[in-house]
Subunit: 263 residues, 2 copies
């Protein structure tokens, strides 16, 4: 679940304000590991709050619908939170515009199709389509994965502002599998290739048995705002149809976002 660098620190300081305590309660479901359901006591522990305080906070959340009490007495994130969350413009607009193209891509490949954006120093997965027989991968909508070991991540990093690249390469890069590239120099070269080629290829660097092709999505200002990819089981030779389809989807979405090449 890659607990990234900058965003949300997890338990840490609940802070003196009511609001921060309210958030600590919600964060208990996210950090350190994402869980479905927690008892009141568990929430209190994870949030670092006294039980009675937690009790009141949880009560408020439940009243609003941000948390739900399950039959067994435990709590889980509530529908209201989902309802409000999916309204968030960034994710919603992008999804709405991109979905038809992702569908097309899925129809060609019948493999995982990913759409991700750069948030902080992570690839944040905005959408994921999968079929019945797709490879096992760990991405999930709303999840974060590292930039240097995923197809979409590499594309996003390649087109990020140079200070972001520097910052990312300055920190130690986890090696997930033998072929994960962790050398900053090699990565720099790789990013240059990705910019030149217009697509990124990735194989066996995050999940064993899976490879991907990813391409950048540009908005009306020509900025890279997202990346699409197809993730397939690793095969001896690359399927050129996938590359073409990913490129086409990326182009289609970019056009829908108002991008006009070169002018």
């Amino acid at each position: 679940m890659a607990n990234a660098t900058q965003p949300h620190g997890g338990d840490a300081a609940p802070g003196p304000s009511v609001a921060s305590r309210m958030f600590a309660v919600i964060d208990a479901f996210t950090a350190p590991t994402a869980v479905r359901a927690l008892t009141l006591t568990a929430i209190a522990e994870r949030a670092g709050l006294p039980l009675s305080t937690t009790h009141r906070m949880v009560g408020e959340w439940v009243a609003w619908g941000g948390l739900t009490r399950l039959d067994d007495g435990r709590y889980s994130l509530g529908l209201r939170l989902w309802e409000v969350g999916v309204q968030t413009p960034t994710a919603r607009n992008l999804r709405t515009i991109a979905l038809p193209y992702l569908e097309d891509l899925y129809e060609v490949a019948h493999e995982h199709v990913h759409l991700a954006i750069l948030d902080g120093l992570d690839a944040l997965y905005v959408e994921k389509l999968s079929g019945h027989r797709a490879v096992r991968v760990i991405s999930r909508v709303g999840g974060r994965l590292p930039l240097h070991a995923t197809g979409v991540g590499l594309v996003l990093l390649a087109h990020a502002p140079s200070d972001v690249i520097d910052e990312y390469l300055a920190k130690p890069l986890p090696q997930f599998l033998p072929s994960t590239v962790t050398s900053p120099d090699v990565l720099r070269k790789r990013l240059a290739d990705i910019r030149a080629l217009g697509v990124a290829f990735m194989s066996e660097e995050m999940t064993a048995g899976s490879s991907s092709v990813a391409a950048p999505i540009l908005d009306r200002t020509g900025q890279v705002v997202a990346a699409v990819s197809v993730v397939t089981p690793t095969t001896p030779t690359r399927d050129p149809a996938h590359e073409a389809a990913v490129r086409q989807a990326a182009r289609g979405i970019s056009r829908s976002l108002g991008y006009r090449r070169a002018t």
Copy 2:
């Protein structure tokens, strides 16, 4: 946006607690109408809070990531809210399990594919796939539509506990188009037919020019927990392929949820 009966009352009473004021701020983006971005002053008005209080609340939300300040100074719902929201078990589990089948359905029909659940007295849209050329409809993921005028809604209502049906039929039913059925008696008959047939057909009752076929999804206990539908442009004759595909998708999802017919 059908502001339903029971859930979230919108502006109303902010209440004396900090939490309720915090929620009032978020609700400002939802009710009375969903909006993308608001100025601080607008939030204060919609939430019914003094400006300085709003200022502080908004500050807390921004610090956590639940709201984002845009370049023009206005605020919109923040990515963090989306990130947490998509983690909500109900929606997430259902989506994950159903998606592959929805994909199949989409591939057959190339029209809107909807997945909805019953929440309160509304159909809550959990997932929606659409292609490039699909009809214009007003459903959206996270949105609510009335039970008596949509395909999924009719299916959900038909299989709801009888007290829910009674409650729903007791209130006045809005007539959206000439062919919207609003008579409780006619609807009761219709619901019985839907239960008998196993699918619901709906035509020109919510949006002009669109029709749909919907089928129920059952969980391991045999309860109807959701409904799938395909929404197409209205045509003189019904396409039997759509009905078959919807039934098949519903069956597939039900099976994945652990439903075994009859035993």
